[in-house]
Symmetry: C3
Subunit: 129 residues, 3 copies
């Protein structure tokens, strides 16, 4: 093993709730752990709309990307886990509002019930210059 | 942000049905969005067999890879989402028929019901020279 | 297509049960296929605890990484599929015990029922020097 991986810590996103880093940097690619749609300032996930959860989760990814100098336009791919596929339209709208003209590669994956009853979880791969 | 990501457009695969690019290129790696087993020429997904849906989804990935000069032998990894794990054998057979001697890394993920009632969705990571 | 991908074979992890390589190497990144928590020496997955299944799956990933000279400290990201999200705590504990001070990026994805009735499946991205 060579010490080539950098574990990222970001005070502007929720601290890890388990044994993982918020993100890990490998050369010019940042792998961001699954982010829920919660912030330190918001109530429980179950009290927040799906649109807001998408916005919060993406803002968490953006904050983590900022730590290594990347922006939301540098997001290469998002994988979006949603327990209820009926939320597809709401997820897509909130996601489009966040990314504006930037369109990462994306998969929306219907999952089982998420931890804490969250309505959405989003992980990302980000390009770092 | 530096303009280093290239959003890929491919006329030979279904146009995006939401806010995403069919694929995004980051240096020598192409990230292909989840592809359903439909084409512009085929009927609704629900009328197509699981084997054909696998073949169509993989053909869509291949067509998108062609845009950046890559071939199916350049597929590094596929993640296959299937709502019904009883389809595992059919998926594996159709997948093997498509890739022949090439064996990408792979995970078959039992998911919830997919958008449009699709029986399979496949995303991929592809090597670009 | 240029022959740039290397399919990895590892005798110390279960042989592929379908049309996939245990892992594929692309430049300095190793993509490991989803690993179940079984080994050639263990009984059926359904007889093994969730904690042991996590440990076995991660040991399989480690063995595969060794083939290209990587160690568990080189794991960049794990995606963990669990059919029963109530296992979250047990998964996290067994995962922490395995990785010790190393904390890869991670998502725990509640999935449908896994192949062979497995309680967990783990895929990984690994850095290779």
């Amino acid at each position: 093993m060579i010490q080539k991986l950098t574990e990222i810590r970001c005070a502007d996103a929720p601290p890890p709730g388990g044994h993982y880093a918020q993100a890990v940097l490998h050369r010019d690619t940042l792998y961001v752990s699954g982010q829920l749609g919660v912030t330190g300032d918001t109530p429980d996930a179950e009290l927040v709309s799906i649109a807001d959860q998408v916005a919060f989760a993406l803002s968490n990814i953006e904050a983590i990307a900022h730590v290594v100098g990347a922006a939301k336009e540098d997001v290469i791919r998002c994988t979006i886990y949603v327990p209820n596929v009926e939320h597809w339209g709401d997820v897509n709208r909130a996601y489009a509002a966040f990314f504006d003209t930037h369109r990462p590669a994306r998969s929306i994956v219907p999952s089982g019930s998420l931890h804490y009853g969250a309505l959405v979880e989003i992980e990302a791969v980000v390009a770092v210059s």
